[in-house]
Subunit: 185 residues, 2 copies
DNA sequence: CGTCATCTACCTAACATTTGGTAGGTAAAC
DNA sequence: GTTTACCTACCAAATGTTAGGTAGATGACG
């Protein structure tokens, strides 16, 4: 793994735990095993690093979602697996979805970071919407609105589970969404 | 309004916009119209101030919820109004529910603040659960799980709407929850 | 009633630490 | 010999917090 990638991945982990505001150049450098000043050899500023992290985050998410619909061609089944993406963050050190954390911090985010955060939500909603439409769970007109609702609800579930450090709470919340009819059973 | 209350209310507004980490003693003092050092005449530390803010926040929420079930005795109708509490934060300067913001920051919160954040979620879930049970929307055993799901979903909707600075998005998300059957129509 | 001590609510001034960021150097790779 | 990848050493700003002081209100007491 190149140093560049090591920085991006450490920064991502930190940002998922402490947010953009809590992301700290010195600690970040320490985790990568270099000095703080060396970070600036790879990224011109914290803002640009943050934007790069957020960009890579949604790109990885797109890849995960594509892999998911490849492995699970039945859109209903793929949709059922969707919450796993958020679950994995919790498994991985009780971390939050970067998009959720940065949404909370949104007003204080540098402009380039804001853009990428928006895109993260967009790609999620687009994928969910496509699955809904293909599966015929709801009408085509409703599918985008429903996709947004699912995305927001799953993010909320992750937020709540995290504050209790309780992954099983996440599971029961998702199960409740299914029982209520928000997610396909 | 006493200085003490002025501090609490300004701190609350700031924390709802920037989080606990983004809450800043100097700026806070500036908004109240006193100097930073004077804050420490009223609160021993930022941590204790944060805890006081969070405590007052859920106390106010309890009062709002009680008023709501007084004004709207039919629990189904009261439940329908529940999202308004979150909507008001968005109306009031695109602010987030303090509980949501602090849930995101949870790992970095001082201990006294953590406790109050938990309580905020508890009182919300308790109220929603009581309404569900009284209204008979779901079985008594399911009502707590469903209450948690509703709380998490509404918080998620607020988070998403905020990052787009779009209150109407919040409304359509809530409407989607109703259509899907998560919230009573 | 007057005066003296105490308390309240604020202030100025500073301190230590943490932060993002820069200047300039070094040593190996190409 | 230029470029790459890192370093040491520093800076300026921001942050939570403290020390110590002041002006006015309050209350006790001769």
């Amino acid at each position: 793994m190149s140093t560049n990638e090591a920085i991006l991945s450490a920064a991502r982990r930190s940002a998922q735990a402490h947010g953009y505001g809590g992301l700290n150049i010195r600690d970040l450098a320490g985790e990568v095993g270099i000095k703080a000043a060396s970070i600036y050899h790879h990224f011109p500023s914290k803002a640009e690093l943050g934007a790069a992290v957020a960009k890579r985050y949604w790109e990885d998410t797109v890849a995960d979602l594509e892999a998911m619909s490849q492995e699970t061609p039945e859109p209903r089944d793929a949709l059922r697996k969707y919450p796993q993406i958020f679950r994995r963050s919790l498994e991985n050190g009780n971390r939050l979805c970067l998009g959720s954390f940065m949404s909370a911090e949104y007003d204080d985010l540098p402009e380039p970071v804001k853009k990428e955060v928006q895109t993260f939500a967009d790609v999620n909603v687009a994928w969910i919407g496509k699955m809904l439409k293909t599966a015929g769970v709801v009408t085509a007109e409703e599918s985008e609105a429903r996709a947004r609702a699912i995305f927001a609800a799953v993010a909320g579930a992750q937020l709540m589970a995290r504050s209790r450090s309780d992954i099983s709470l996440f599971d029961t919340l998702i199960e409740s969404y299914r029982e209520a009819g928000l997610l396909p059973a």
